[in-house]
Amino acid sequence: MFRPPLYKLGTALLLTLGLTVTAAAQTQDTDIRPDASQLSGDEIKTVFSDAHMDGAYNFGRNGKAVSFYTEKHFPDGTLTYEEDGIVDPGRWFVRNDALCFMYPSNKLSGGCFRVYQIKNCYYFYTTSRRRVPGENGQPYWTARAVKKGERAGCEKAVS
């Protein structure tokens, strides 16, 4: 669902430096969880099986994303991930109420994510302990997605 975590390291650095977040901008360190519902494993399967999602990551301090992807999750557990016109195959599955991804490409790191929903938006929090120190369990989401064709209705709900 994402590229290697360089952008996350960048955001972590910004956080470390203590840069402020504007109230209106929904950045990746905006803790959306108090306003969201976490999906169970069964709910993840229901939402994502056969779903085509438009996602974004690498949000700037203005709350605008600069990186975008689309991902098709097929019912048989396969997927395609597309970013910048490049399509990669992959697999998805659910483990311990988290949505997990595997990719053969070394450009994509895969992993498992807890999924939180606000309106029609899905936010992904990694379960990995290795990726970015402090990210696991911290108010930091990796990406946000909506079903293809839908307009995200979540930003104002958490500003």
């Binding site: 048989d76 557990g77 396969t78 697999r91 998805w92 599955f93 659910v94 483990r95 053969p104 990995s128």
Partner: protein, 151 residues
Amino acid sequence: MRLFALFTIACLSPLHAAALGPDEAYPDVENETPLTEAELRAAFTGKRHLGSYNFLSRGITTYAFEETTNSDGSLRHVRQGHVDTGQWEISDNTVCYDYDDPNLLQACFRMYSRGNCYYHYQVSVEGYAKFGFTARSVIAGETANCEPAYV
């Protein structure tokens, strides 16, 4: 186990069409312990494994492969009728494969077991097992009892 150096492309043929994507039986590389060197030697030295790749590669239309890791350090890999030879070794709790074909990268894998199945996780340059497994296999002659059992 053969690792194609450059080209792994999309192919969406389902491995187990009846399954609804999730497979909680996959090893959890962050929380489970891979096979030790002694376990690796028992499982691979002088053994022939039958397995399936998790993904397809360019020009390859079958997931199935077989690989013999001989006691003398040589190996023989067969996929879709194509034979590759090379060397293998066990080092630092990983199995490393080095093929004679210069287009194939040398790669090392940590192995996790599920029943009598071995899941092959490539080790990254940082020394971690990559999240997704590359392939899984069983020793020839055994019936795979991992789920879904498509090996």
